[in-house]
């Protein structure tokens, strides 16, 4: 089975789904499920397309990193579509295009092709956010997304002018073997960083996120905050680890941007009174921490953090968006006592929130402990201190939120109905968060070698 199918099947299904609106939702679910199964049958290595060998043609690269990221993204995508397929069946074709774009982003080994998939996934994302019925926010997202893509392409073209290649591995090899000083690479790398930073919600390129996630629903919220965020983090990780390899003043600037993002994200979440705003600012802070870990070479714990955040944020956004939709308000005070009638949902929300905070018994704690240890061993004590302080702030606002959602002061009880499919998803994710929080052995089976780009370059150029 070729990795190309992971992109081609959703794209073909998207075209077919336009022909018959009735089969579109069925096609969406079938393709989503088929893609998950297909990932297990894709062999590792480079997939050459059209017979053009590397670096002349577009190629895909499938390694353990790609497999893990594809499994996470496709798995979560299937869950979100399953929960929303009836309510948002008109979005089926767009969701299929989104799936093709996201899989392409995770698989491609060509930097221009990455731009194309960024735009495909981006256009699908803008259309998904139209379900929020806030066209001005969608317009802002479109403008910011297009601007980000333009910056990325500009940086890439400067690199092409310098090295004459667009292939990721060939570009890395050309940079490593050339005598070009790193200072000459600062401009293109920084533009590409900004371009991807827009989609990754990094400060200060995330002006679109507030409008989109503040008004999100059960489809757009988890899709943008969990699935798109995870995909862009994985892509960012691949590029930071292999291509950018920040150093010198650029490393300082990027680190400062990310630290400011962590601090401001947590501060804004602390100051928010709306549930979706709290989650949105928390997401921004977590995205900055993830990229910070990739920048510091702590790849495997960054990958685990992306996965844990994607799972937790999926639960948090689904609960809050479902409740906000029924109550028509997402002020925390309006949601008081939400879990009094929904114990299982409350338990899932609590476990997800405590895992994001990094409390013991949950997978978030294991991840936080490990990446803080690695950062401390790397001498990054200032970053460790700042993350710990931000964790305290995070703890305060999440505990406040949990107290309000669990207990009310004898006021009128609110009753939000979560159907069985929601509860099943929450139960599975809660179980995963607790199991991997207690039984940590499987997490030790992978290391930073999960990303095999450098090994592949060795094989190609040095035999």
């Amino acid at each position: 089975m070729s990795a190309v199918l992971l992109i081609a099947i959703p794209l073909l299904a998207a075209f077919l789904s336009i022909l018959s609106k009735k089969i579109a939702p069925v096609l969406l679910l079938l393709v989503g499920l088929a893609n998950i199964v297909l990932i297990f049958f894709v062999p590792s290595g480079i997939v050459v397309i059209g017979g053009f060998d590397l670096p002349y043609g577009i190629n895909l690269f499938f390694d353990t990193y790609a497999m893990v990221s594809l499994l996470v993204v496709n798995g979560l995508f299937f869950i979100v579509t399953l929960l929303n397929v009836i309510e948002y069946k008109k979005m089926s074709s767009i969701l299929l295009v989104a799936l093709a774009g996201l899989n392409g982003l995770l698989l491609t080994g060509d930097l221009f092709n990455l731009f194309v998939f960024l735009e495909i996934a981006g256009i699908a994302a803008y259309l998904i956010t139209t379900t929020n019925k806030k066209p001005l926010s969608t317009f802002n997202y479109l403008v910011m997304g297009a601007l980000g893509s333009i910056f990325y392409l500009f940086g890439l073209m400067v690199l092409y002018g310098m090295f004459g290649t667009l292939n990721l591995m060939d570009m890395i090899h050309a940079i490593q073997t050339s005598s070009v000083a790193y200072t000459s690479l600062i401009l293109p790398f920084f533009f590409m960083f900004i371009g991807l930073g827009v989609e990754a919600k990094l400060l200060p390129f995330n002006a679109w996120a507030k409008g989109i996630l503040k008004h999100s629903n059960t489809l757009s919220g988890p899709m943008i905050a969990s699935i798109y965020a995870a995909t862009i983090s994985f892509v960012f990780g691949r590029l930071i680890t292999n291509l950018f390899q920040f150093e010198g003043k650029l490393l300082l600037v990027v680190t400062l941007l990310l630290i400011v993002g962590v601090v401001i994200g947590e501060a804004m979440a602390f100051a928010s009174t709306k549930a979706r705003e709290i989650l949105l600012y928390s997401s921004i802070s977590q995205a900055c921490i993830t990229i910070l870990l990739f920048v510091n070479g702590i790849i495997i714990w960054a990958v685990y953090l992306v996965i844990a955040n994607a799972l937790s944020k999926l639960v948090l956004y689904l609960v809050v968006n479902k409740a906000a939709k029924e109550i028509k308000n997402d002020e925390v005070d309006s949601l008081r006592g939400l879990f009094a009638q929904n114990m299982l949902v409350g338990l899932a929300f609590t476990v997800a929130a405590l895992s994001v905070m990094g409390l013991p018994l949950f997978v978030g704690f294991v991840i936080k402990l490990n990446y803080l240890t690695h950062l401390a061993l790397g001498g990054q004590l200032l970053i460790v201190g700042l993350i710990l302080v931000s964790s305290v702030v995070e703890g305060i606002y999440f505990v406040k939120l949990l107290f309000k959602l669990w207990f009310n002061k004898g006021e009128e009880k609110i009753n939000v109905k979560f159907n069985i499919s929601y509860k099943l998803v929450f139960a599975i994710i809660t179980l995963a968060i607790v199991v991997f929080g207690v039984y940590t052995k499987p997490l030790g089976e992978f290391d930073n070698g999960i990303d095999a780009v450098q090994d592949q370059i060795e094989v190609i150029y040095n035999g």
């Binding site: 221009f112 256009i123 139209t130 926010s137 317009f139 479109l142 297009a146 073209m157 002018g161 667009l166």
Partner: protein, 111 residues
Amino acid sequence: MIQYAAILLMMIGLYGLLTNRNVVKIVISLNVLEIGLNIFIISIGFVYNGIAPIITSTNNSSALLFVDPLPQALVLTAIVIGVGTTALGLAIVKNIFSKYKTLEIDEMEEN
């Protein structure tokens, strides 16, 4: 020289994006920025005194000075994507106008 013109066009587009409060003008600014970028990409493949990269009966030697054809192929893709984004942007602008009866961002309220 042409690269300076492209970057100038990009700066004009960026200035338009930052200063305009009218959604149609913002879409136009985005297009100016994209055109600037497309010209920049084309300029990367430019070779002084180079000929079109097509082998013909008269130009049949690989020793001839051809311009780089790859940026031209890339620009074609970038133009198509840009048109798609613009079309979607204008569709959203239509939605905005239907909802708010104005194209000025300052006159809209979206809380």
